[in-house]
Amino acid sequence: MSDFPFNQAAAAAPTRPQEGRRIALVCSKGGLDECYPVLIMANAARMTGIGCSVFFTFWGLDVITESRCDHLHVNFIGNPSSPMPYMLAGLPGMEALGTSFMKQRMEALDIPSVREMVRLLAESGCELYGCELAMRMFDRKAEDLLPEVREVITATDFFEKTHGADIIFV
């Protein structure tokens, strides 16, 4: 079609789906406030047509572990942005209370749970990997991970798989 005007217009816009553009996200933290940026950015990348791979390592392994992914907490201590004063945040039960407030807020904003986000990412074509070293460190087996995880690989393998991609470390 010679008079279709939007290919050129879309090419000029920064969100033009580019066959070659890919990103690689590394999730190394297991706090609720620390893993959501990875999950949401991965989803946004897929919605924009950017290829995406996510590597879950160290505490980030909790995000893709079946028994842990529904029980992630918000980190209030040692977080300068935390609304809770340190003395209070250290008391027993305060972390759980703060986490439940955060979860209520997220539900009110219709943000999916971690499990739902992982499912969404896998279905939209995002590649999810677990870190082999972290699996050995936390003594976990492949069966303990969510079914959406593609495989457990080493950091070297991950770099080979994401050749040419922009790497974002969270």
Binding site: A9, M47, S100, K103, E107, S113
Partner: protein
């Protein structure tokens, strides 16, 4: 000689047949008499019963009895009956069960069976306490405490964006679009435009595509906001994976372009 014998045999058999026929006729007559005697009785019963039966039917008791009859076999399942009998046993001799104080209550509440039973009790209370208009709305939203819900919730529509009209609109096919290809006035859409747009974007439209397009337009009409990827995937039932297959690369935006809807907002 032989012929006479066989003739005799034949007559014998005919006699036997006649005797049996007589018995049949006798029984038939007896049955006839019985029916003749019972008919007035039956007529009387039907006449007397039809009045109350009609009355019960008009009050809806017969349908209710039918519903109850349908539900009862489930209640009479062997494990349910065993459970009820056990419960009745406990109720029969209440003073033989050990008493439970406040500390014992806390201990008991940590038992999974007791927790399950409390869940059943709460469910029953919820049903009993329900008002005539259905469940009452909660004043305070309960925290979900991180438990995954059994069904994925249908994502709420994103807030309708208040974007100013673009400074450089594009005219095509007699309608106005944004430079990225989103129709400014959704009412000027028609299927032919959708076909041309899909052709330009390189998407071959199938019935599956049209179903999603129709759903998205209906959702926009209902909510006023262009549905994003998650809302379309869950709401239309097509699923995220299939949606990415049907509208590759940028399903939300491609669908919005083809369906003549504004650019969807939201990153999740």
């Amino acid at each position: 000689m032989q012929r006479t014998d066989s003739q005799e045999g034949l007559f014998d058999r005919l006699d036997a047949l006649e005797a049996r026929l007589d018995t049949v006729v006798f029984h038939h007559q007896a049955l006839d008499e019985l029916i003749r005697e019972l008919t007035p009785v039956l007529r009387h019963v039907m006449a007397t019963a039809s009045g109350p039966l009609q009355d019960w039917e008009s009050r809806g008791w017969l349908t209710q009895a039918q519903t109850l009859g349908g539900a009862l076999p489930g209640l009479l399942a062997p494990d349910v009956v065993a459970r009820l009998v056990e419960a009745l046993d406990v109720l029969r001799t209440p003073h033989q069960t050990p008493p439970v104080g406040p500390l014992g209550l806390m201990r008991a509440a940590s038992e999974p069976d007791v927790q399950q039973g409390l869940g059943v009790a709460v469910a029953l209370l919820r049903i009993l306490g329900r008002g005539p208009d259905g469940p009452t709305a909660l004043a305070v939203r309960p925290p979900s405490a991180g438990m995954p819900s059994p069904h994925p919730p249908s994502p709420r529509p994103a807030a309708a964006p208040v974007t100013p009209p673009p400074s450089d609109p594009v005219q095509w096919e007699g309608r106005t679009f944004t430079p990225e290809g989103f129709l400014l006035d959704a009412t000027t859409w028609d299927e032919d435009l959708a076909r041309r747009m899909a052709q330009g974007l390189g998407i071959p439209l199938s019935e599956a595509h049209w179903e999603v397009v129709r759903w998205a337009r209906a959702d926009f009409a209902a909510t006023g906001a262009s549905p994003n990827v998650r809302r379309v995937a869950v709401g239309s039932g097509v699923g995220t994976r299939r949606l990415y297959e049907l509208f590759p690369q940028t399903p939300g935006k491609t669908l919005a372009r083809i369906a003549g809807l504004p650019k969807p907002v939201g990153c999740v």
